[in-house]
Symmetry: C2
């Protein structure tokens, strides 16, 4: 069993118990089981250089960061998936229970297989108050509460009261009953699973509702106002101990009420009778390896991604759907790692073109299955729920307990989990500095159905800003990849699945798009992360008059097409095409481990030629990464300027001045001396834009000349 | 009654019905009620230059953007607050019902006053499928579903079937029953409210569960596969109409099945019998003024903010808690606008120091009230629920129906609603281009408990990145203010409460902090948005050797203190202090309406002197805003570098090199010639940092020398 603590400031429960059972001192030998260790234990609490008041990476036995509320139950279910022998007990605070992510998490049982997954035991703790207010679930009639929980598929066991001794007994009985019920569900389901032709029985899982006073066993009254059982016990019930002798005396009485002289020996260590209560070794709550998942982490069994390469007989001569190609690779990753790899998606896995994975696995589903349903199964490695919060929370729990996975999402809606991403990145940053926490698999996002291809969904689905959120987190943690085609996506995905302790964000298109690189070229290009595309440049890109840079599949198409137009109009113009896969390469070497040294950056971009950069996201992100580079004043970035609507892909790039014609205009306007002699070409580009926009408005699709364009050399 | 449509791609229901009742053609005269208008109506659907498939700003009668799912019910409740005669019917799709925000929204009834608020009628539409998967609520046993809804406080009326004629009758009966029940609840509550001494009765609100086939009355089978009643009807059931004569025939049969010849006259207009069904005038679903809230918008009655000014007898001689001062102003805004202004907070309103508002209003709460509770009331203008999603969704619904409000949040956790902010900004952008949509009150965020003052909460509570998310939205919509002290916060708040169609983000501290400006100075400074603080500069800031810029309360304190140190150490050094309140002033004038013209920017920052900028948020945001300015290469920004932990305020700024000592070091390192002659000062600054860090680690608090510092001149 592992223990997930949802309540804010719930850290002391885990820290103190871990110290009592000895696991804390094993991890932190200076916080020893004696008087000096106890002093350190107390003093470090919420103290500069110490530990947070929430459960945190620093807390042995925790996979859960308790600072931002809402994710405990999703983390708990994530930990239970593919862990058939694990029970995750999860305390949900009644404050946290008001959050959206937590409210959605109750339904996670609909995705939990009693045969091959473990169990979650939710303990809804109604102490009645959040910071300064009563909580909803503690104040509704108990009859309603029970109906709600039964309606969400649970059998609630209620433990309610304020007398400690009897409450402990009742809680113990409730836990026994819950564990027996869990065991019965699992036994029955696993026996049936072994027999042919037996129907599936739906599990109703137990849970505990614990109703106890807030600030229980703390001071009843302070300065004449009730504290125990009210919101006043939320933070520091006795705030005047330094100056108010009454407060100090009350604090001492309160502390003495626990009779420490009976609990600790002369050295400060807990007495033997207490120590004997705790389990031993890895069964201790602070020592369970599931809560330090890196310890259990097995490498993924990965097929050779090169096997999935698209056929290639020239740069830009064929088209593929990048994510569909990746889907074939993922299908075999699924197959080779049946209990160690999951794909999460908010009902978008098929829409993002990963359907090939259903050749290898089902979508997990514990409710009724109809004859018209496809690919639903009691067990499955794909999880589809229309909640980005649940996808993220489940995956975090799965990764933190030592497994691997991918979260695929529409690009725009991954913003829904910005805050969860932030907290996971913070967890990783702290964990990396704790030698006893072993590295875990990276959190991999594949963002598809991206800003440039929301032809029918329109403006609400057009938002590439997650990259900006990601880039605010420390350089040692975050990686952003924009593979331009199918082969480079395969190479990037393989790299991400092998990595540890990162957040990898991969943006990839799902629509048919040109294949630019052979597999060997893609591997070489992705390994460098950035490079000159000689075949798309004039004269191999040597001594350019202008640099056309690009990152992202659609900007790359427009850039390569612009290079082609420039070659036709100005055969003597030196054009260099630079493609960026690994966005971090743009940063100075001192800012990011992947950052290019200045000399290499300048060798690619020059220091004195105009650079027209076609970027997938908001253009200023590129400026933010490059403002320290020499020649930055020559850099002109085109990207998404929040000009979006329901329209065709080519109309979208025109709306944002990222289209091939506008890139040619940008070159004409910026290469010294070109504007005078190229006025007719410039005008032709302006006319082409008008013509294409008119065509789109008339026919609702891009002109054939744009759709059918392929690299002609 | 207004109608909120949650289901994705639910736009046609509103658009078609609005056209049938005539309100659509009133707003869009070219989409007339005749054959040509009907052609335009159909053709614009999900077509370039046309309208989205979701409900959207373009949809008359809608306050709800249907592109990103999860917010329909929160919007509906927001619309109902303080609208006692309004019923908001809200269709919740069973896909949307899986999201966290929607799951949390059911409990909104706990905050709805039957006396002074209107009603919400949720209609949970179980058509069984999301994009490619069954939905949870459609597949659980109906007994469980009913329990769940009853447990969440509703009386569900179930309408289930597939035979259109009888289903219409049953749905009508269910709606009649629901409306009668709503009327009875309101009548009873309002009668009781008029009588003294009568106890409160808890309302159990009606709702409808509508179970009907997905793709209802569409093609039953296509190409031998079932479509009606399955996930296959999600998008385009007949995709081959252009090339497959069978598909085309089936499409025609399907369309003819609705017997258009009976519904429309020769001109293409609906027949009189149909037209007579719709209500008239503003009762039509596309013409209700509540759904075009700007029409109903009344200006706030605002007291003179200058009345709340803190006493001032010198720059930096006293301290105030800025948000507490703002709370006094807000208290009187609340008082003067009892049915037109609400404050939303995720249980943080008191923590953010706005408690003074409770002198004027209660926190709204419909559940049991205990004798130990404070400031809870059946009606109240403060709404406290531990869900940022609900706070944001309620406020959006409230604003969109023509009222005013403020959302106060811990700075870090406002990231929880990044995606909702994005969608609201998109709504505003589109609305501004629709002449018939009237401007609404701005969405005002007050972010407190910010990154620099999370002394005990630590790293999880330290994240200033919302500003970066906000800055990705169009310049005409977003405003970011960082008032340095209490008086400037008052001035900014007054400005925000008077504004329209913006998103205003105000970051303000809640801890005691120096008052830098008199009220008159604050008004002048905030009106300019940026300016030289002569009193903190040497020689009034004329002809500086170095510019110290700052934005945010804590960075301003460190900057002013650094200027003081520099004056002591280098009396001959020209130091200019520039404070930035309105972050948008940093952008070029061509990029933002508030952007400073280059000449003014250069007059403040110079083009050739080092600028050390102490910034509240991530430092690269300042670079992003200023990279085009002359002299940008001299700009050195200090800000939050994701170095956080549980520690004191001064330790936090030291961790991120933003402290006064490091700013002095930055000046020494960057002013030409200073480094050589100031080596001893530099070393002293290094030593001060070490000494202060050691003090903090030892005593858990900042040294008195730092805490008690005030501007000495």
């Amino acid at each position: 069993m592992i223990y997930v603590m949802g309540p804010g400031h719930g850290g002391p429960a885990a820290v103190a118990n871990s110290w009592l059972e000895g696991s804390y001192s094993q991890v932190y030998p200076d916080v020893s089981q004696d008087e000096e260790g106890m002093r350190r234990l107390f003093r470090q609490f919420s103290f500069p250089g110490g530990i947070p008041s929430h459960v945190a990476p620093e807390t042995p036995g925790s996979i859960h960061e308790g600072g931002e509320l809402g994710y405990s139950l999703a983390h708990a279910f994530g930990a239970a998936f593919d862990n058939p022998d694990l029970v995750v007990s999860c305390v949900v605070g009644d404050g946290e229970a008001e959050t959206g992510p937590l409210a959605a998490s109750w339904h996670s049982t609909k995705f939990l297989d009693p045969v091959r997954d473990g169990a979650v035991l939710p303990i809804l703790h109604l102490n009645g108050y959040k910071i300064a207010n009563p909580t909803v679930l503690a104040r509704i009639p108990e009859e309603e509460l029970v109906k709600m929980l039964e309606g969400m598929g649970y059998q609630p066991l209620i433990v309610s009261g304020s007398e400690p001794a009897s409450m402990h007994q009742r809680m113990a009985r409730a836990l026994d009953e819950a564990m027996d019920r869990i065991a019965a569900i699992q036994r029955q389901a696993r026996q049936r699973a072994g027999r042919a032709g037996r129907s599936f029985e739906r599990a109703v899982w137990p849970m505990v509702v614990l109703r106890s006073p807030k600030g229980w066993t703390g001071p009843r009254e302070v300065d004449g106002l009730p504290v125990e059982g009210t919101w006043r016990s939320h933070q520091v019930p006795l705030s005047g101990v330094r100056s108010d002798p009454g407060h100090l005396r009350q604090l001492e009485e309160w502390m003495r009420s626990y009779r420490p002289q009976e609990l600790f020996g002369d050295s400060g260590a807990p007495v033997a009778e207490l120590v004997a209560l705790a389990p031993e070794g890895e069964r201790r709550m602070g020592a369970n390896p599931h809560a330090n998942g890196g310890v259990l982490l097995r490498d993924l069994v990965l097929p050779d991604f090169r096997r999935y390469a698209v056929e290639f007989d020239g740069h830009g001569t064929h088209t593929s759907q990048a994510t569909r190609v990746l889907g074939c690779f993922l299908r075999d990753v699924v197959r080779s790692n049946p209990d160690n790899f999951r794909i999460m998606g908010p009902d978008e896995t098929a829409s993002n073109r990963f359907s090939e994975v259903y050749e290898a696995t089902d979508k997990v589903w514990q409710e009724e299955v109809l004859s018209t349903d496809e690919h639903l199964g009691r067990h499955g490695q794909v999880m589809e729920v229309l909640s980005e919060h649940l996808c993220q929370g489940w995956l975090e729990g799965y990764l933190l307990t030592g497994r691997h996975g991918v979260f695929n999402s529409y690009e725009a809606f991954v913003h829904i989990v910005d805050a969860m991403f932030n907290q996971h990145a913070k967890w990783l940053k702290v964990s990396r500095h704790l030698a006893w926490r072993w590295p875990i698999a990276s959190l991999n996002y594949v963002l598809s159905s991206h800003v440039w291809r929301q032809d029918h969904n329109g403006f609400t689905h057009q938002d590439p800003g997650f990259l900006d959120v990601v880039m605010n987190k420390p350089a040692e943690l975050v990686r952003v990849y924009l593979p331009p085609d199918a082969n480079s996506l395969l190479s990037v995905a393989d790299h991400c699945l092998r990595s540890r302790d990162y957040v990898n964000v991969v943006v990839a298109g799902k629509q048919p798009a040109l294949d630019y690189l052979s597999m060997d070229e893609a591997v070489a290009h992705c390994t460098r992360g950035i490079g000159i595309w000689e075949w798309a440049s004039t004269g191999g890109g040597a001594d350019p008059d202008v640099v056309l840079a690009c990152a992202g599949d659609v900007p790359t198409l427009e850039t390569v097409a612009a290079a082609d137009l420039l070659r036709q109009f100005f055969p003597e113009l030196g054009v260099r095409v630079v493609n960026v896969v690994d966005l971090m390469r743009l940063q100075p070497a001192g800012e990011h481990p992947h950052g290019l040294p200045d000399a290499e950056y300048e060798a690619l971009f020059t220091t004195d030629r105009p650079v027209i950069f076609a970027f997938h996201g908001y253009p200023w992100l590129v400026h933010r990464l490059t403002y320290r580079r020499r020649g930055h004043e020559n850099l002109h970035v085109r990207g998404f300027k929040e000009k979006g609507t329901t329209t065709t892909p080519f109309d979208m790039v025109m709306l944002n001045d990222l289209d091939r014609f506008h890139l040619v205009i940008d070159v004409i306007d910026r290469v010294p001396g070109l504007a005078q002699r190229a006025a007719h070409v410039r005008q032709r580009m302006v006319d082409e834009r008008s013509r294409h926009r008119a065509h789109t408005r008339e026919f609702g699709e891009d002109p054939a000349s744009v759709r059918e364009w392929v690299w002609p050399y």
